[in-house]
Symmetry: D3
Subunit: 170 residues, 6 copies
């Protein structure tokens, strides 16, 4: 039987750390569905369509990867897509706590789907989407942390905004 | 002397994990006052009156449990109610950090009241109010995680909203 | 391609928590090799042969599980067995720290093999081999924590030793 | 060469724990620049000018301490000020996780500046700015947790607001 | 009904941190039984008789404290002594992990006894028996960390051994 | 005044992670004394003289680094050497717990010396002396984890011992 995993997340935007998890996951699973959680109550930096575009650009070389979006329960989505696994990357202790609780809840909701944790490569251990956005916003160099298209689009978003401090209020 | 504990929290809504802590606490204390912290600046899913009603329904079988509400400092409230203990349930590491800091602050503010930690039963380790609300919102089955009245009221709140995802944006 | 994982450990003895991980792993992998690490410098409660026997008894119902022993580097063994994954169960924070460091080292030694973490079922969160042995040694009831054959063999090991305390010295 | 560290933070307001870190840091560095991060998107309890005033009052006894404000990237600011170190106080595990990630990001952005961690004195382990504000807001006694001027200003901010709970809604 | 707790440990030797937990515990429980776990397989610095003597000296002022020794399962001992609680002090994260696992195991073995955690006073957060012994062994001043009789006895044990380093082996 | 730090440890043997901390530390301190703790009760893989030799070989390029050995209390040694700081590298959460407790104890013993934490470079996060020895013992490639002389000496220690597993007992 073909082994399928969904890889859920907000991917706002996709980072090289996410791509690393997809590549590792493909050594275990026959197919990975990268699934953007569409949460109407939470506005991101990029629209869902932009996120899909950036993921498609970064992952087009893999024939067994599909980009999708979903809302509602992750386990319901996994079931609908006939996935055996929910793929998650672990980077640090704080990740672990949250992931642990989500995995327990998901198992309670649907006992058929397993949460599978892979470890993010050491080089990506600090590259969360939010910390990258924070750095980029102030003009930090995010070279090598995100795929080229993402870097380009982030630059456009923050534009010329990122001038440095003027210093001390008299 | 009668041993009294307050059990403070937002109880928005009460879960079976909370009830588990009350039952365990009653083996140590002669009386437990479940005290809803009324924080005017933070809007919950349920009104204070609704939370009181759900707690009263779930705890009516215990003659030595009282439901109350308070605002202001927890230690001041404990003192006013002549409680020797502040009861708290521990579920995970992240709980521990926060609880530890609060307990140190409370001790600094009033040295007479002890924070007493009990461990939540294993079955309730993932049932925080917020994760239950998140699951329920998307139509997840929260059977056995909350008392019957709470389940009923949650269903009413989220109503027919919880339809599942429509999928991929083209 | 057939997906294979090794599941390394000392299994001294196998617990129901281990069996839980094997069952979950079989939903992801086509074959699992349970591999007893043979460390000559460290004497266990059971001999390697006894551990193999207990594992075989507990896992005979699965046609796609093999019991094996190895020494040396885990990644070398994985490579030799043509495994894509090293399966590990996570129970708690302290597990995570150690597993994280081992996984990083293993990746450094061989980039082809992925460490795959699954979460141990909630019921098995406290059932490490060592804590079970400690309880059994003092006559604690380990019913439902280990497979029947293991329970029988543990009883034989500790025999009539486990009498309770005589109390206070004078 | 003169050793300089910046000590960045929001200092909203400065606490005795912050002062403790400055004093410890002066045993290692020849000069410390206490640098208030000016984040226009986040409104604090005190204005930047008020924070500067409170820091100046509390630190005037040290000739080798400078108060400053900045926005943008911390490492860029450090470089501009010719600092070798970014000084940070550690209090607890949760601090550590966040500080670790920030330090990794900062190192990636500028390899010349070292993040230097000192341990906050035991007495200040629970005195974060936010927990002090929370206590003060409800009339808690924050004596000995902040410098005199800060205590005075906090009292003024919260004024007569902090009356205690009226109790149970019927 | 009288509320009784056992406070198990090795107390090799008792520290001021232990005494702090006993004092706090007496605000919750009517009687505390300090119970030295007698583990024949593990040789301590002090004999069981010495530990009892030091505990008796340090706790003689409390009429509702009893010193005892036990071996075997803690929960069996608690049951035999008709205790409702097993008292434990929490100091740090690493304590928490271990205590959590022990408490889960104990609950599995006997559901009637609750593990009750109190927080060690801030001043005692670093005073484990083992770290105190390590310091004392090298001539460190352990004044104020242990009761007077313990300090005297430790000094006698380590005698004149604690001379400082001679330096570099050429 | 010249700023001096001692960098205590067992260095059995020195790793590239240690060297990384020394290099970082030299950006803060004018002189670093790498101090091998000589614990007569604990036999290492290498003798103290061998450890000194490997450290001297790896650090000879730095004129402001001294290699030394000591026994007894770290703070006493720091005082004797007129050091303002005790330098320590942090790699992970579990490091933090232990380092935190040691730093508190050291401060209690001598308030004049500050423990200064630097973060080990990401590439060295998994290279503890013990995990490297474990890998090398079984023939793992430790290239790039230790200085050349150390690699050579480790190879000699473990010699041809590291043959791989023979496999399954029958």
């Amino acid at each position: 039987m073909k082994k399928i995993a969904i890889y859920p997340g907000s991917f706002d935007p996709v980072t090289n750390g996410h791509l690393d998890i997809v590549e590792r996951g493909l050594k275990i699973f026959d197919k990975i569905i990268v699934a953007i959680l569409h949460n109407p109550g939470k506005k991101g930096l990029f629209t869902i369509a932009e996120r899909v575009q950036m993921l498609e650009s970064a992952l087009k070389k893999f024939s067994n990867v599909e980009i999708d979006t979903f809302n509602g329960l992750t386990v319901e989505y996994a079931k609908k897509r006939k996935a055996q696994g929910i793929l998650r990357g672990l980077r640090a202790m704080s990740d672990f706590e949250y992931e642990f609780q989500m995995a327990l809840m998901n198992r309670k909701l649907n006992r058929e789907v397993q949460t599978v944790f892979l470890m993010t490569g050491l080089r990506w251990i600090y590259t969360s989407s939010s910390i990258i956005k924070e750095a980029a916003q102030f003009g930090g160099n995010i070279n090598g942390m995100v795929p080229p298209l993402v870097q380009q689009k982030i630059k456009k978003k923050f534009g010329k905004k990122s001038t440095l401090a003027k210093q001390k209020p008299t």
